[in-house]
Amino acid sequence: MSPPEQSPHPYTDLPAHAYWRSGVGGVEPLRMQGLWQPKFPITPADPVATYGSCFAQHIGRALRARGHDWLVSEKPPRRVSGEVARRFGYRLFSARTGNIYTPTLLLQWLRWALGEATPPDTVWPDESGFRDPFRPRIEPDPFDSVAELEKLRAVTLRALARSVRKARVFVFTLGLTERWVETETGCEYPLCPGTSAGRYDPDRHAFAPLDYPQAHAAMQAALDLMRAANPRLRFLLTVSPVPLAATASGQHVLTATSGAKATLRAVAGALAGARADTDYFPSYEMITSPVFGGQFFAPDRRQVTDAGVAFVMERFFGDMAARFDLPKTADSPPPPDAAADPEEVICDEEMLAAFGPRG
C-alpha cells in the first residue's frame, strides 16, 4: 500500500533559499545566495542619499567605488584631502549631519531641514568656542562663535533638504534606541551631554529610550515627510550590526544591544513589509548571524572588519544585479577629489566606551 499523497500547501515547492537545510545548512556561508531580494533596482544613474549610524558610512563609499551616484549635497572645496574632509564631517553622509542613530533624531533633522520646525537656540559653550549639541563632533574644534555654529547648521539643513529632494533612494541605517533629550524642548541629542561635549545636567537632560511603537511611529513619520517633499523617493533601511558601545539602561550592554537591535530590526521589517516604497537590506544578519560564526567582528567583538563590510557590499550589489538582471559593477578608483588616504569610519558613539573601566 503506497503512502497517501500529500495535498499541496504553502511550504511545498519553495525555492531552495526558503528552507534552512538547503538555504543555509548545506551551503558554505560565504557562498550563500539570495539573502536579499531587493524590491526595486538601484542603478548607477540613481542619486542615492545616505544617512544614519556609523555603519551607513560604508554604504556611501561602496556606492561611489562602484560608480554609483552617491549624492553628497554638502561638499568640501575641491582639492581637499579625504582625511581633512572627513575630520570635518564631509563625505561621511550626504550632508554634514554627523551620525544619526535613532529614528527620532532623523525625524528631528528632517523637520528642521524641511521647514516643519526650527532648531532650539541651545549651544554648548566650550573652553575655546561653541559646540553644536546636535552634532557635537562634526568638527575637531568648537565653532568660533554662536553665529558661525548656527550659520553652518543652516548650511547643513539646506544640504539635507536638497539631498531629500534630489535623491531617488534614501538609505538610512538605524543604530540605537537609547537617546538623550533636552527636557525643556524635547529635542534629542545624538550623544549624552557631558560625554564628548557639553555638561550633563540631570534637571535639563533626560534618558528617553525608544520602545517599538515610538521607533516605528518616528520612522514612519520621517518616511512620510520625505515622500511629501519628493514623491519619487524610495527608502532602503538597514540596521547597524555594530553593538552598543555603552548602555545607560541598567542592563548588561550585551542584553541592551540585543533589545535595541531587535526593536530596530522589527521597525525596519514592518515598514518594508507595509510600504511599497521601502525595502530592508539585511546587512545586520549578514554580519551578526551565528551562521557566520562572528568572523566579521574585530577582536573587540564590536567593530566590523573590512572583510565584513566587503562581504555585505558584495551581497548588496550581487543580489541587486541578480534580481534585476543588471550588470554587476566592480570597484573603481575613487574620483580625483577623494584622496587615496585610508577611509576611517567616524563613530561618535565610541566616545561612550571611554568612560568604562580599562582593561
Binding site: 568640501p76 572645496p77 575641491r78 582639492r79 581637499v80 584631502s81 581633512v84 575630520r87 570635518f88 568638527e139 575637531p140 574644534d141 565653532f143 568660533d144 558661525e148 550659520k151 553652518l152 548650511v155
Partner: protein, 245 residues
Amino acid sequence: MIRLCIIGNSHAAALKRATDAFRADHPEVRLSFFAAPSRETAALEVTDGRYAASTPELAAQLRLTSGGHDDIVPSEYDAFLVYGFGGRGDFSDNPRLLSAAFCRAVALERVRRSLLPRHIAALRQLTHAPIFAALTPLPGIDGIRKPRRLMRYKAEMAMVQAQICDPHGVTLCPQPPESLVKGRATRAEFAAGSQPLENAHRPTPGTHDRSERRHMNAAYGRVWLEHFWPRLRATLADGPKRAAE
C-alpha cells in the same frame, strides 16, 4: 657677491625672466635657478651633502635653468629661496559655507601637501644658511569672478610661517603689498603676458595663453625681487646663521 639659490616650479619663471634687469641694478647678487614645472622637483634628493636630481629628466631640466648644474651644493650659496609651492586657492572656495577652523585646515593642508615642506626640510638638513620661502602668487584678478580666499592673506601667511616655516628656521616672504588687490588677488597687470618656464623636454611657447592668470610676468618678478632684496641683504648682514637659530 651674494649667491642666492632658488628652487622653484613654473612660477619661478617670473623671477628668472626678471633676473637680467634686476642684476643690472644689483650686480652684487647672483641668482641660480633650479626650477622644473609642477611637482617635478620632487625628484630632488639629499645625497652626499648635496640636493641632487635623482632622475635624468630632472637633471636635464635643472641643467637648463641653472646653467649647467644638476645638483645643489649648499656651500656654494649664501642663501636659499624656495619659490612658488603651496597656497594656491580655488575659485570654488566659498568660505561663507565653511567654518573658520575648516578654512584654516584646508589652507594649511594645501601648503603641507606641496613640495615646500619637503624642500625646506631637505635644505635645512644640509645647511645653516638663511632659507626663505614664497608661496604660489595669488591669481591675477580678471574683473569677472570675484576672487575668493579661505582666509585673510595676512592671517594665512602668519599661519604658514608658524606651522610650516618656523620649525625649520625659514622665513616666509609674502607677496609685495603693491602687487595685491585687497589681499585676495594679484593685480591684473602682473598676470598678463606671463611666460612659461624653460623646459628641457618640450618646446616652450613664448607666452602663456591669454586666459592664464595664475602665473605672473617678468614685471611681477622684478617687483618681487626688489621687495625681497633688502630683506635678503639685511638677513645676511646679521650673519648667515641667523635664520637657523
